[in-house]
């Protein structure tokens, strides 16, 4: 039977089930297929808290959300229109966030008395009418999957049980007309060594697909036309972690400096360690240090040796690295510190996102120890941010803090792969002769400076340039220990001036619309880091409902773009949404004496577009 096809502009699906149900896999397979169709998309996994909770419990629910559309989208979406719930707990945890009238597809077999109890349901929601406002489809996925695979030679009942996520994938693939070959080839690759399992999964997928095609249950099929506003190029899906890893490796390649990452595991920064540790074959060294202090020290030691030293952590680890970062400021050596922010203070909520380390990045060390701070604003943007952090660290001989966060690190989106040849080169400009820069005095002056105020970087092994550096204040030029007051003041100013001068290479802050004298735009929404997608989406909605509002996103927090003050002053009002208690606002107010307003959200969640739209509406 042929079914009616409905065209949609955008869809938000959330796959939810028990940790054991393989929802992350289902989601990422659906994502790849969707990317192939040419839809624009954004995804966000949502894992349970660290320790694996008992099967079927609320704490054990794992989910994966994807928004895909025919025009460019900016976030994984606020409220799903479709929920796939593999068990009662998954339904309970996620139904609240659904939009009214959303479609719910459940694995009916999982709604046993026991599971309902585990999920804390007094009555079966599939029967008590509590799901009235939604369109609910009940499918006995376990049964149908078992039936589909039982014939296959050498398949255990366990394999059968686990294949039901592919059944679900089949159903959804049919429902949204996703290509099947991508999944097919993936299954073959993945289970090459266990043909029976491969067959089982393929069978389950097919069963799901034909279930959609044949049964009455699902009467419409949906079509989301490919996005047409996508620039040409090669694309792949990346999350912030992968993009950052690639950006750092790219910087290593373009600078010729082997990369050394020293890190101590911590959620959500561990993923970067895992990712980079796989690339030993291409000049990437990784060390799991005994703690964060050692990690920072090892990375700095490697920098002293002429490597691209990187260390990555999250809040608690940042506290511990601060003394070593201060040493790097004094040594004026390149060092990249990645802070994947999470909800604090203290241990806080390790798996939740937040932007509350900004002021610590700027001021979290004793003494006057200025350094550059960069914050990527999209998953793909983590590539440029990583590359840029390395470029600045090397060119200016300075530690650089890169502020990512839990949301950026795990959310993914299609990313246009850059052409390696187009990436800027980074010249480490190692000092090779005592006279460096050429006009400098001899003997070697490790604290002489070039036009960027950067000092010479002479690495061990270079004849004639043996020298000693350390954390004590040093004489301008020679670098010898100095307790002279005037010298200390000069060096303090030099360290600050060097960092401030980086602004020369910081792109200006760009407002997304030209001020139009006819209809003056009196409100600027200014964000920083990972909130860009939600802010732009929110602004877009506000505009659709007729509001005149502009937006801009800061990616360099120190130094700020040179035009920041002018931009702020060119608007009547400035709204600064942040996932903290107003840290950027505090900076801008003191720097520019502009009365910026804060929208603070400290709930361990990303910003939602709705919230921004509402904030804008409430101001106009």
């Amino acid at each position: 039977m042929t079914k009616q096809v409905e065209e949609l502009d955008r869809v938000i699906i959330r796959f939810a089930g028990d940790s054991g149900d393989g929802m992350q896999l289902t989601g990422s397979r659906f994502t790849d297929a969707t990317a192939m169709v040419g839809n624009d998309l954004a995804t966000l996994p949502n894992f349970p808290a660290e320790i694996r909770a008992p099967a079927g419990t609320l704490a054990g629910v794992s989910a994966f959300q994807i928004q895909f559309a025919s025009s460019d989208i900016l976030t994984p979406g606020d409220h799903p229109n479709v929920l796939v719930a593999m068990n009662p707990a998954a339904l309970k945890v996620n139904s609240a966030e659904l939009e009214r009238g959303a479609t719910i597809i459940v694995n009916g077999d999982a709604f046993t008395k026991r599971n309902l109890e585990k999920a804390g349901y007094a009555a079966n929601p599939l029967q008590d009418g509590s799901l009235e406002p939604y369109r609910v489809h009940q499918i006995p996925m376990s049964t149908l999957t078992t039936r589909a695979v039982e014939a296959i030679e050498g398949v255990t009942t366990r394999d059968a049980g686990r294949a039901k996520n592919l059944f679900a994938l089949g159903v959804l693939s049919w429902l949204y007309g996703r290509p099947t070959d991508v999944t097919k080839t993936w299954i073959e690759r993945k289970f090459a060594r266990t043909p029976a399992v491969a067959q089982a999964n393929q069978a389950a997928f097919n069963a799901g697909w034909s279930f959609g095609e044949t049964t009455e249950l699902l009467d419409v099929q949906y079509r989301v036309p490919p996005a047409t506003d996508v620039p040409a190029g090669t694309y792949r899906n990346v999350n912030g972690t992968t993009a950052l890893a690639l950006g750092l490796i790219a910087a290593s390649v373009r600078s010729g400096l082997p990369l050394l990452l020293a890190s101590y595991p911590i959620t959500p920064a561990s993923e970067l360690l895992h990712e980079l540790s796989r690339h030993a074959a291409i000049g990437v060294s990784t060390i799991q240090a005994e703690d964060e202090i050692a990690a920072a020290g090892m990375a700095l030691g490697a920098s002293f040796g002429g490597r691209l030293g990187v260390t990555a952590t999250s809040g608690p680890g940042m506290d511990l690295k601060s003394e070593t970062i201060g040493l790097a400021v004094m040594l004026e050596l390149p060092l990249i510190i990645v802070d994947v922010q999470r909800a604090g203070p203290s241990t806080g909520m390790p798996t939740k996102t937040e932007q509350s380390d900004l002021l610590m990045a700027l001021y979290g060390r004793h003494g006057e120890s200025p350094l550059p701070v960069i914050a990527p604003s999209t998953a793909g943007g983590c590539f440029e941010a990583g590359f840029e952090a390395a470029r600045i660290a090397i060119r200016y001989r300075t530690p650089v803090i890169l502020l990512s966060d839990s949301f950026l690190a795990s959310s993914s989106e299609p990313w246009r792969v850059p052409d390696v040849a187009t990436l800027p080169g980074i010249d480490p400009e190692f000092a090779m002769t005592p006279a460096h820069p050429p006009d400098a005095a001899e003997p070697f002056q490790p604290y002489s400076r070039n036009e960027r105020l950067a000092r010479p970087w002479a690495i061990p092994g270079t004849p004639g340039l043996a020298h000693r550096i350390g954390g004590l204040e040093k004489t301008d030029g020679s670098g010898n220990i100095s307790y002279d007051g005037a010298n200390h003041e000069r060096m303090t100013e030099l360290r600050a001036a060097k960092v401030a001068a980086i602004a020369d290479e910081v792109p200006p802050l760009v407002v997304d619309i030209e001020p139009d004298p006819a209809h003056p735009t009196n409100l600027l929404v200014l964000g920083w880091g990972s909130t860009e997608g939600s802010i732009r989406a929110g602004v877009r909605r506000a505009r659709e409902s007729g509001h005149r509002v502009a937006t801009a996103q800061l990616r360099h927090l120190n130094p700020l773009p040179r035009n920041t003050g002018d931009v702020l002053r060119s608007f009547e009002r400035v709204l600064v949404p942040e996932l903290n208690s107003g840290q950027l606002a505090m900076l801008l107010r003191s720097r520019f004496l502009v009365d910026v307003e804060s929208y603070c959200k400290v709930r361990g969640q990303p910003l939602f577009a709705d919230e921004i739209a509402d904030e804008i509406a409430s101001r106009q």
Partner: protein, 330 residues
């Protein structure tokens, strides 16, 4: 060219700034004297130090050097050693720097067997900060921070290193240039991490802490010199020795009483670190007869470079960027 190196090639232009009579002078001079033996040009030698009087060492060596922060020298050195296998890397640290604030980095560098030589200047006091107790200060010692006497039982650096899986552990004395040099030589040739405890006199805040082992009239009676393959004996006329008693513990005896055959033969190469620990603990503080020399020297894989020394080629990078499923939009 390296053949012609001399002590002077390792003396920096910085004026040495230790108190008159400080043991650090003797160690510095011995190290500078020994360096040419390495046959390594100064620019491929790096001294990384912590904070403390001992920490000033880096400034006086005409090699590459980093005066790090308190206690972190082993971490800095681990990063450098991992990045640059071509260098000869030395750490100089004090008893507070290495054992108090830096204890964790020290034991991890030892267990990893990072190719660095760690010289621990043990003066059993905090010198630079003017005389507080250190983790090696003896019980009951009156210091600025312990006016009623040290209440914490001290570490025995050699024992700690042995428990931390160290592959090379030795002890020597600032005043004995010959013995010090011998030990440096052995440490330098050891592959992997070497811990060398150097008893160092601080005339200002802890004078005479090692007098027992350095004063002419008593040193022979108290220095137990460990020599591989030889029975452990000491005293002006080698009249005393060390045996394993019936209770399974080591004990000091009169050789005459037990006969030479009973004496323990020293073997730093034992896989089992137990006997070395027994020796280390023969004297908890250097006030009793104290073994010096090489306690342990065994081979184990060295903590080395992970990702090699060359970054990816542009082609490798291009492949990496498009790894996984990618698609093209025309």
């Amino acid at each position: 060219m390296t053949a012609t190196l001399s002590k002077a090639d390792f003396q920096s232009d910085q004026e040495t700034r230790w108190c008159p009579g400080c043991g650090d002078y003797a160690v510095l001079s011995a190290v500078q004297q020994f360096m040419p033996e390495l046959g390594i040009p100064p620019e491929r030698i790096v001294f990384i130090t912590g904070i403390g009087c001992a920490g000033r060492f880096a400034y006086y060596m005409d090699t590459y050097g980093m005066h790090g922060i308190h206690g972190r020298a082993p971490a800095l050195a681990t990063g450098l050693a991992t990045a640059r296998e071509d260098l000869s890397i030395w750490v100089v640290s004090g008893d507070g720097d290495a054992l108090s604030i830096g204890g964790n980095h020290l034991i991890h560098a030892l267990r990893r067997n990072v190719p660095v030589k760690i010289l621990l200047f043990n003066n059993q006091i905090y010198g630079l900060t003017k005389g507080q107790a250190s983790p090696t200060s003896e019980l009951g010692k009156i210091t600025k921070s312990t006016p009623f006497g040290v209440a914490d039982h001290p570490f025995n650096p050699v024992a700690l290193a042995l428990g931390a899986e160290a592959t090379f552990v030795a002890r020597t004395i600032d005043r004995d240039r010959h013995h010090l040099t011998e030990v440096l030589r052995a440490a330098a040739t050891h592959e992997g991490a070497a811990l060398v405890e150097i008893y160092q006199n601080c005339p200002v805040f802890n004078d005479g802490a090692f007098a027992n082992l350095t004063d002419k009239d008593v040193k022979d009676a108290n220095q137990i010199r460990l020599r591989a393959g030889e029975p452990i004996r000491f005293g002006a006329d080698d009249e005393r020795g060390v045996i394993r008693g019936a209770d399974g513990c080591l004990q000091v005896v009169e050789v005459a009483d037990v006969g030479e055959a009973e004496l323990l033969i020293h073997d730093p190469g034992r896989g089992d670190p137990g006997p070395a620990l027994s020796l280390a603990k023969l004297a908890q503080t250097p006030m009793a007869p104290t073994p010096i020399g090489i306690f342990r020297s065994v081979q184990r894989p060295v903590f080395g470079q992970r990702g090699g020394t060359v970054p990816a080629t542009e082609d490798q990078l291009a492949d990496l960027l498009t790894a996984g499923d990618s698609w093209t939009v025309a």
